[in-house]
């Protein structure tokens, strides 16, 4: 490669001849009586590349000739936004990893060092922290879009399942990232999360020690969660994103009507449209980064500004907001095994959505009143559970958590019946 750059002119000369030769073979008949044409250097380069790597083919297949319904509305921005946030997380994450120290003694102070001493360190960290919350806002809206317009239905079941896997992996990624600042909330939230595995019959306690690498959550645990957060899980996310896009481009986008509509090429129509959406998104995103990076304790909890202390549990333990709905279910059930099973089940049920929905119609626009009511109740339950999960535990809170849990489950379990009507 370096040789190529250094000897660009020389190489280009060789290429010229090569491409000319190449051209002559294929266009002999047409070119017989014409004088030899001059070709642009850029064209020669692309011809050289495309003879060796299907760059143009990939571009045509996925953009220039990739057909997209002409009626996609703003709900279809969130896929592109999540890709943008992923890039943001990777880039800011690499820079943060240069400065952050994953040991129990130095983790907390290295984050303070990033915030106070490193030029623009505060910006990198806030972009990363706000990016994590933005990721989930965007993903939840993206998932809601699929549920609303029936995008999970045939032939997009696998697309939906790959997306759900991405969601689960993303939850693990964010939970492991939440540990790294090593504040009180980092410590106690991960302790609660790891202890969830103690419900596994017979080997529960051993699994917990194995995950922690110690008899309790310690610096050993912190260090391995750092490895998960920056290497293992990002690789899985990138692979799954690739699979998600391959699956999407194989079956094509659904659209708000849920029926076949006229299609237009992705490029230039949707590249331009998405770009304008991206501008609006970045405007909102950076407004939050600059003016409300902690989002009043929702994006960065106040308790996490105190270093981790294994001897003192904060009076009010709350998970990050995007985990709060499942945490609510966990708290609402007085039995530990049932609580863990039901909050895990809340995610597992989503995987089965394509088979729970028996309707022949995809989009909510053409569905019956029962489905519309059910979806409304589901949204209220999910948001309600999320709210309960971030609030203090009171009898009212538990009562509402239980009601919302019941409705959340009813949405899925009665779906085979009401969706058929």
């Amino acid at each position: 490669m370096l040789f190529f750059v250094k000897n660009f002119k020389k190489c280009a000369g060789v290429l010229d001849r090569y491409v000319e030769q190449f051209f002559k073979i294929f266009h002999k008949k047409e070119r017989k009586n014409e004088p030899p044409r001059k070709m642009l250097n850029s064209y020669k380069l692309s011809a050289w590349i495309n003879a060796r790597f299907p760059l143009r083919e990939i571009w045509n297949k996925n953009a220039r000739q990739y057909l997209t319904p002409r009626n996609l509305n703003f709900w279809y921005f969130f896929g592109v936004f999540s890709l943008l946030v992923l890039v943001n997380q990777i880039v800011t994450g690499i820079w943060l990893a240069m400065i952050y120290t994953p040991t129990s003694a130095d983790a907390f102070s290295s984050v303070e060092h990033i915030m106070r001493d490193v030029p623009f360190g505060w910006l990198l960290r806030y972009m990363h922290a706000v990016g994590a919350s933005a990721f989930f806002i965007v993903i939840y809206l993206h998932m809601y879009r699929s549920i609303m317009y029936g995008s999970f239905k045939a032939p997009r079941e696998l697309l939906w399942i790959i997306g759900m896997l991405l969601y689960v992996v993303l939850l693990i990624e964010s939970a492991s990232g939440y540990v790294l600042p090593w504040g009180q909330m980092s410590f106690w939230a991960i302790k609660v999360l790891i202890t969830v595995f103690s419900v596994v019959p017979f080997i529960g306690k051993q699994i917990v020690v194995w995950l922690q690498g110690d008899y309790s959550v310690s610096g050993v645990t912190l260090h391995r969660f750092f490895a998960f957060h920056v290497i293992a899980i990002p690789l899985m996310i990138i692979f799954l994103v690739w699979a998600h896009i391959v699956a999407l481009h194989h079956v094509g986008s659904n659209n708000p009507t849920g029926r076949d509509v006229e299609k237009i090429p992705f490029h230039p129509y949707y590249t331009i449209k998405d770009l304008s959406g991206v501008i609006v998104f970045l405007f909102v995103f950076f407004f939050i980064v600059f003016y409300a990076p902690t989002m009043h304790g929702y994006f960065l909890e106040p308790a996490n500004f105190t270093p981790a202390n294994p001897l003192v549990t904060p009076l009010h333990i709350a998970p990050p907001w995007y985990l709060a709905p499942y945490y609510s279910i966990l708290r609402a059930i007085p039995n530990k095994l049932m609580g863990v099973s039901l909050s895990a089940g809340a995610i597992v049920l989503l995987f089965f959505l394509p088979w729970l929905d028996r309707s022949k119609i995809k989009s909510i626009r053409h569905r019956g009143i029962l489905t519309k009511i059910a979806l409304t109740i589901f949204v209220i339950s999910f948001v309600g559970l999320g709210f309960c999960g971030t609030e203090n535990l009171t009898d009212t809170n538990i009562l509402f958590s239980r009601i919302f849990t019941a409705f959340y489950y009813l949405f899925f379990l009665t779906m085979p019946f009401y969706s058929k009507v």
Partner: protein, 196 residues
Amino acid sequence: MNQDDSIDEKRRAFLTGATVAMGAIGVAAACVPFVASMLPSADTIFAGGPVRVKVSGMKLGDQLTVMWRGKPVWIIARGDAALASLNTDTNLLRDPNSTVDQQPPYAQNIYRSRKPLHLILVGVCTHLGCTPTYRPDPHSVSPDWPGGFFCSCHGSKFDLSGRVFKGVPAPINLEVPPYVYLSDDEILIGASEAPK
């Protein structure tokens, strides 16, 4: 051997199966170092050794917290009133007789201790690992509160020998660690027998 040139499907299936089986064993064996390296290392195990605690300075009702294996271990000096509260209303408890294996055999009694005076508990809630708070005064948590430990994370309640109440998320009693009296004033936490 086959006389003709036909393919021996049976032999081929056997060879494929045997190769796959050997490969699977190899993969499983290759997993061992990766899984095992995540277990506690030698120095972590060493750091988790027993801890000596002097209890001579404790007054009745006092709570002493020491670290053992990175977890808080409480030593509570219980007076007569505290011990009396253990005898009332065993109906409210999930496991009043400590049948679940959360204590060494010598602590499987109503006091859940070697001597009624000292209660020794791992201060980690059996629900999801928070540290409950010591609330010895009756009626301090709820009107019917007899005194005990309250976990503010998810509202689990335990009595003054660490036994869990019914209707709370914690499934079992608090853990009693292995311990031994080296003398009346000194306790070794983390071992059931005094070192020779």
